[in-house]
């Protein structure tokens, strides 16, 4: 366990700092923006697609399980990213109109 912490200390630091940053960054969000913010955060965790791309790109041509699952993972990840950002943009488009009026 201690050994594992030692060899992964960099990552552990990142995790700890990101937790505080995540809390700090949205700490003062008005309730009006709760839904768009949730939607935006939803799009950002679509970054999981990078993992899907790596898995897909590494799969050997004979390994059908990895190929099929990886292909599916890429599709799902892309859905999360594209859908997430577009939906958020549509919500926020409304706010823009309102401001300019």
């Amino acid at each position: 366990m201690l050994e594992w912490i030692q060899s992964n200390q960099q990552i552990i630091y990142i995790v700890l700092l990101m937790i505080f940053l995540g809390i700090e960054v949205i700490g003062r969000v008005p309730s009006v923006l709760h839904t768009p913010l949730m939607s935006g955060a939803n799009a950002i965790h679509g970054v999981v697609i990078i993992g899907a791309i790596i898995v897909m790109g590494k799969a050997e041509s004979g390994n059908y399980l990895a190929l099929i699952l990886g292909f599916l993972a890429v599709i799902l990840g892309a859905l999360n990213v594209a859908g997430g950002f577009v939906v958020t943009d549509r919500m926020l488009e409304m706010f823009k109109q309102k401001k300019s009026k």
């Binding site: 990552i11 839904t35 935006g40 939803n42 950002i44 999981v48 990213v81 939906v87 706010f95 309102k98």
Partner: protein, 474 residues
Amino acid sequence: MSQSILTLIYIIASVTFILGLKMLSSPTTARKGNLVAAFGMVLAIIGTIFLYHDDEGNYLHNHLWIFGGLAIGTLLGWIVAKKVKMTAMPEMVSLFNGMGGACAAMISLIEFNHLSHLHAESGFSGMSHGILGIILLGLIIGSISFAGSMIAWGKLNGSIKDFSFKGQTIINLLFLFFILAIATFVIFIRPDATRILVYIIFILALVYGLFFVMPIGGADMPVVISLLNSFTGVAAASGGFLYNNKAMLTGGILVGAAGTLLTILMTKAMNRSIMNVLVGNFGGGGTVGTAAGAGGAQPVKEINASDLAISLNYSKSVVIVPGYGLAVAQAQKTCKELEDTLEANGVEVKYAIHPVAGRMPGHMNVLLAEANVPYPKLIDLEEANDMLKDTDVVLVLGANDVVNPAAKDDPSSPIYGMPVLEVWNAKMVVVVKRSMSSGYAGIDNPLFYHDKTKMLFGDAKKVLQDIVTEVKAL
């Protein structure tokens, strides 16, 4: 060389995620923030495809598959997101969240297979507990998030009903315990006998996600989606651990932390705790419904559109309380028309927005903005409660639980303590509703039998059109 460019790209991507999230929490910069984060994401994706290589210098192959998958997913997501009605936004977010969870779970499954192949040849002694643990973490959380999000999606669009049975909380805890127990066993004791056990964990986690969301009432769905959203963030971060990929790690943990805080903020807006939402069976009816039974027999006073039009037209100030019923009827534009007509006749019109009006916090603001209602006309809970005392007519359009006086004066009510709009302080209250049925919380509303209250039954859009016609005819 290419590795260092990729590292730079990942650093830029991480910064755009942080900046994007920061900008998303302020109304003036929100839209730009979303675009900034999207830009970072595209950069990271393209960079990964062309620049990523493993320690032995092997670049990624299967480009055709990768681009094919990207094209299908992007196109599908784009079209669905563009076409969906504003009212259906919350379930859309849930659906996309589920996709992300499933993606994380699949990555874990593949990586596990890969790992067990590798170690089948060389013996299991060298297998890292840490890596195995992270793979399982991604698998479990991703699967729970996927199954839970699908249920939340189904509940919000009405195709899945609430379902709960006695002792469900205990059974859920048992499920969770089994999942964790098997996972611990696999990681620390028998990493060699894992194949079947990992599939069992996968299935148990899916079932747990199902059972976890099933009993939670529709009114609490936003909180659940927000929570599952942060789950998926953690699942994505576990992938970052696995590939030592800092962009995935920062993005995932950031969303995990921010999502958790957002969940807490939402429950605060409803004056409830997360435990209360997750364990308590809100909306199940049951014992708290006694008041409802008695209330059902009480008479209500009705009003018709022309009388209401006169009352509205000759009052000085009108406050509209929009609720989900307004959104369902797609009546936000007609509502705006009524506002314009009344304003033209010298009536002051405001909208009182409860923090949880609609189906998600902020949902109603988005819907009214779509109908071009100017921002200063929307007033929040506290300001509205001050103003309601001097208001002549309050028009409640398809809202219910957020104007329920039981939240203030009936300690036995399940929503007791929730901040509500105190519309009964105004001189007259008119509630437009399709029927006497109860709101999302499944409880009766004494407001309907209040002295000052008059009811107007009908579809919100139809009723509003009638009122507009009548006001114009005056």
